[in-house]
Amino acid sequence: MSAFNVVSDGPDGAAGTTDDLSTTETFDAYVARVFGDLFAE
């Protein structure tokens, strides 16, 4: 049985890119992965 998740193309509106969102990760993890450079470490 495959895992059930919901996905989105993300802010760039293109599928299969690094900014795609999925319920496989938390939003905080997503922000750290995609937008980490926007924030001070």
Partner: protein, 147 residues
């Protein structure tokens, strides 16, 4: 009374109630008031004037600032909002308000990634709602899904 106080109190009088300045911005009365305010704003559209009307903790005013915009030919407001949006030391809420101010000026591209974070958060919330509804539907239909 500063611009902030004038805006809020005037909107309250004109519209007779508890409305936020940005919510009231597009009403006919608010547009009239805005036009009345613009001459004095434009005569003093500098960083000191901006600072006097954007106290700490009131980040929403950056969005209002963007709606007022720059004096023709000047870039003071644009530059200030771009710097605020890019400032990693600031709270994200304040940076986002500055980015929305730029967006109101038609310059959202200068803070696109900050705006993208907010859009992604909205989308993430929608994903969770969809996931929850599908999960509920699966239970109702007796379908087992793996999470």
């Amino acid at each position: 009374m500063g611009l902030q106080g004038l805006l809020v109190s005037s909107f309250a009088v004109v519209l007779g109630g508890a409305v936020r300045a940005d919510q009231a911005w597009d009403t006919r009365e608010a547009r009239t008031l805005r036009e009345q305010l613009l001459p004095s704003w434009r005569s003093r559209s500098d960083h000191a004037h901006i600072d006097s009307h954007t106290p700490d903790g009131d980040a929403d005013l950056f969005e209002v600032l963007g709606k007022l915009g720059d004096v023709p030919g000047a870039t003071t407001v644009r530059d200030r909002l771009a710097a605020e949006a890019a400032n990693k030391a600031e709270a994200f809420e304040r940076r986002l308000a500055a980015a929305r101010g730029l967006e109101a000026m038609g310059l959202g591209s200068l803070a696109r990634r900050v705006l993208d974070v907010a859009r992604a958060e909205e989308t993430f919330g929608s994903l969770e709602i969809v996931r929850g509804k599908i999960g509920t539907l699966a239970v109702q239909r007796g379908v087992t899904i793996c999470r």
